[in-house]
């Protein structure tokens, strides 16, 4: 892939980047509240977002720049198996429909801002609150770092090498998030999503016609897989369980993350969330088509240094400079929205479940907002340092673990919405077993999220996160049944 600077592409890119930067700073005056010095206003946009804003915001932070880069890259490399992102992002919405309005109501009624707040309110256990909050923060950090990976990929395709362009983009992001809070990514999400839609629809409509139609795209991918002896247009017989459990486990984990929960808590009603469960699948259609760009990479005969370059390389090869610049701007802005919401989600957790819980219980609303704003800066700088100083693989491995970790907060966060049977000691023990056990299994498999199991018959692979969740729930049930009800939570 050539990497000299295309001035037209760069000019278009810079124009759109400047546009969203202005929007980011203007956002503090958008739907302006009496004061931004309150964590509900800074960190949740005043809990006032209706159907459309929620659609753009949740879509914008759920389908990230890294998705745009990594899903086609995985499909390019392994074929059908990488397509699990599609069933994952379909089955997530019935779950959102059933669970999230109930969770939203609980949060609204009691003024909860984070998952940690919900758990503390339900079980009165500081230990369980800390477990849930800390899991949220450490699962989010590598996720932010991956947005930077996505951004680095398009900057590289534009010919902008080195860390400086990335650092500048991120500092700009950090500053407007600091001043406008969740309003900034919510406003920018409109621009980002419209751009991504234009890019993907153009790509899936025009690229196949340049490459001889979809039948030819699939045939070319098939031939490429056979030539290299790995990858396939269909699943292998031993991949069925892995495919289904990855889809289900990822779907259950998706809305446990602080950034997606922030989007949920920021909406103005349970009805808004249910409507979004109907409307958000529109993004999934886009994702499915986007995934097929991986196959188009084979049909276009791209020679790549890394599979992550497949989408940028396709645009550079098949489209004129200005459209590539537009596409790259869409992807880079697609990194800013989720990175902003993730840092806000992590900052809310730190403020509510660590600062307020342990450092200054008497902190005022304005004080909370101030701590959260500063934390959001620290979180972003931390992610930037990770990307600059540690190998990318480190962020990838951590992100993989992050999915498994965040899934372990599901019982504590969700079960209490439906039953009062569970208590803190059981849930805490379950979380511990799921967290440590899941981490061990991933490490034991050489940092792979899949585990080989044999139940007498043919061995099969299963998503480790789901395995850990099963152990988590089993332990929670057993401990809860054994520990007498009046015993206060220890630890």
């Amino acid at each position: 892939m050539t990497t000299e600077i295309d001035s037209t592409a760069l000019a278009v890119f810079l124009f759109f980047f400047a546009l969203v930067t202005i929007l980011g700073f203007v956002a503090s005056r958008w739907r302006k509240p009496a004061t931004l010095a309150h964590i509900d206003e800074w960190g949740l946009g005043g809990r006032s977002f209706g159907t459309w804003i929620t659609w753009f915001l949740v879509g914008g932070d759920f389908y990230t720049a890294y998705t745009v880069i990594a899903v086609p890259a995985l499909v390019y490399t392994v074929g059908a198996y990488g397509f699990f992102a599609l069933p994952y992002t379909i089955v997530v919405y019935p779950f959102v429909f059933m669970v999230m309005p109930v969770l939203w109501k609980r949060a609204r009624d009691f003024g909860y801002v984070t998952a940690g707040d919900v758990v503390h309110g339900q079980y009165g256990s500081r230990a369980l609150e800390l477990a849930v909050a800390a899991t949220g923060v450490i699962a989010t950090m590598p996720y932010i770092a991956l947005q930077l990976v996505g951004m680095t990929t398009v900057l590289k395709a534009l010919g902008l090498h080195g860390e400086l362009p990335l650092a500048i983009a991120f500092i700009v992001l950090a500053l407007y998030t600091y001043s406008a809070g969740l309003r900034a990514p919510a406003l920018i999400a409109f621009v980002k999503d419209i751009m991504i839609y234009i890019v993907v629809i153009t790509a899936v409509a025009l690229i196949p016609s340049k490459l001889g139609g979809y039948a030819n795209v699939f045939a070319a991918a098939d031939a490429a897989f056979q030539a290299k002896g790995s990858g396939n247009l269909l699943l292998g017989g031993n991949q069925y369980v892995a495919y289904a459990t990855l889809a289900l486990g990822s779907a259950l984990a998706a809305f446990m993350y602080p950034h997606t929960l922030t989007g949920i808590f920021a909406s103005n009603s349970g009805k808004t969330i249910r409507k979004n469960a109907v409307l958000l699948p529109a993004y999934t259609l886009l994702l499915g088509l986007l995934a097929l760009l991986g196959y188009m990479g084979h049909a276009a005969g791209l020679k790549l240094e890394s599979p992550n370059d497949v989408v940028p390389a396709l645009f550079k090869t098949l489209f004129s400079g200005w459209f590539s610049g537009f596409a790259f701007a869409a992807i880079a802005i697609g990194a800013l929205v989720p990175a902003a919401v993730m840092s806000i989600g992590a900052a809310n957790l730190f403020t509510r479940n660590f600062w307020k819980a342990y450092v200054n219980p008497e902190v005022s609303s304005a004080g909370e907002a101030k701590v959260a704003k500063l934390t959001s800066l620290v979180v972003k700088v931390g992610a930037l340092l990770v990307i600059i100083f540690l190998p990318t693989q480190f962020a990838l491995d951590l992100q993989l673990l992050g999915g498994i970790w965040i899934l372990q907060t599901l019982p504590a966060l969700v079960f209490g919405l439906y039953t009062n049977w569970f208590r803190a000691p059981g849930l805490l023990a379950g979380w511990f077993v799921g967290f440590i056990g899941g981490t061990f299994l991933v490490w034991d498999a050489g940092w792979k999220p899949l585990h080989l199991i044999s139940l007498g018959g043919e061995p099969f692979t299963i998503y480790t996160g789901l395995l850990a969740l099963a152990a988590n729930i089993a332990v929670a049930v057993v401990i809860n049944a054994v520990v007498p009800a009046r015993t206060p939570a220890r630890a």
């Binding site: 397509f83 196949p208 039948a215 069925y240 289900l248 349970g270 499915g288 088509l289």
Partner: protein, 65 residues
């Protein structure tokens, strides 16, 4: 009566899990559609189906808040 009918509509939301988390149902090339092997268009088709099922469920509980 009204309540039990709305509860029944929620069961529609189980259908996508069955249709998508059972890869043996769709892990095949034929019949292809517009050049897409069955595996791909089948799963893409579940996007509008799931949205439609969720919409029916939404209509049955929209007065609940």
């Amino acid at each position: 009566m009204e309540k039990s009918r709305s509860k029944a509509a929620l069961w529609l939301l189980v259908i996508p899990y069955i249709g998508l988390l059972w890869p043996s149902l769709y892990n095949m090339r034929e019949p292809a559609l517009f050049g897409f092997p069955f595996f791909y268009w089948y799963q893409l088709l579940w996007v509008p189906i799931t949205a439609a099922l969720t919409f029916i469920a939404y209509r049955s509980v929209r007065h609940d808040d």
